[in-house]
Subunit: 186 residues, 2 copies
DNA sequence: GTCTATAATACGATAGAC
DNA sequence: GTCTATCGTATTATAGAC
């Protein structure tokens, strides 16, 4: 795949994470990506909505892979989820609380404004939930429990990221890690 | 307090809820509020950041009062939180998944971009958490537990709203209600 | 208190050259 | 594939009349 195209998607992800959809301009994307200015509409002829939905799509693939790898480090599912969230907290802190999830803001901004982006967000959340569900199923949780719990894990991590970023403090994510471990250990 | 000023704040809340900070224009606020165009910079001389932070401040007062009232309907704290979340789900659905929380998108968009708005969001989340913590303390939870759990309740409700809006389905919030009840009943 | 007009800038998107 | 120039329309904010 083209280098410029890839750079654009990566820069878009980082910017969406930091400032959302409407807060991110195409000029900014070109500048941050160090891609040729002429490449934007060459690789993404359908414009900003296309760039955004593809960036979200790609990021969910990368993130779900990271979840799988992270969860593989403990055989116990509850412990694995707990430790993974602590890693998320580290990353949020390392980014200076500028990053966390490229989905949250975009999903909320566009839920009723862009069919295309909403669909991308919906599938992205599904992909993330899958990664957790697989681990829970492998850990012996019955299917309906794994379904519910994996959704709850995704939801509370999202909430933890919001509170940690807003308070510029990783304690909220640490609390989410602890409480989820308790719930998953039942 | 002035009528126009109040209308502007209310309209701002609704728009922030639907499309976030950068997605909401001052022209749109004036139009939706049915307030005189000349009133915007008369009542809010410091512009968009002032309007936004005041809107968030006011909405957190209103919401925390609603939380207190909602939680008062059950004497059991776990049951009260559960039932309250089902009411949140109803409201999200009734709005056509356009509403939910005026904080989420704004908090994520502006976490590292506007000191003023970040501060307003931080205090707003604190206010919401307080409302839950009081109920937990009254329900006999020891102080550190009430602290952790009330934060976790806020985080997972936020996450549930995000997933429900994105999927245009109240099931995520219902799951959050159920799982939180389990955790709070331990 | 409210109005219009407008400044200054940014936006997304397109056209046409190379 | 990439460039520049530009269209049309938004944006936030201000100035000055009433």
């Amino acid at each position: 795949m083209s280098n410029a195209r890839e750079q654009i998607l990566q820069a878009t992800c980082a910017l969406l994470e930091k400032q959302g959809y409407h807060g991110t301009g195409l000029n900014e994307i070109v500048r941050e990506s160090h891609a040729p200015k002429g490449s934007l509409y060459y690789y993404f002829p359908e414009g900003k909505e296309q760039i955004t939905s593809e960036a979200i799509q790609q990021s969910s693939q990368v993130t779900s892979e990271r979840i799988r790898l992270g969860l593989a480090e403990s055989s116990d599912a509850a412990q694995a989820v707990h430790d993974f969230i602590l890693k998320v907290a580290e990353n949020v802190e390392l980014s200076g609380f500028a990053a966390g999830s490229p989905l949250t803001a975009v999903a909320m901004e566009t839920a009723t404004k862009s069919e295309r982006i909403n669909l991308a967000c919906r599938e992205a959340y599904g992909t993330l939930q899958n990664a957790f569900r697989e681990k829970l199923l492998a850990g012996g949780y019955p299917q309906p429990k794994a379904e519910e719990l994996s959704l709850f894990v995704v939801a509370s991590i999202e909430g933890g990221i919001i509170l940690s970023r807003t308070n510029r403090n990783v304690e909220p994510l640490r609390i989410v890690a602890r409480q989820l471990k308790i719930l998953l250990s039942l």
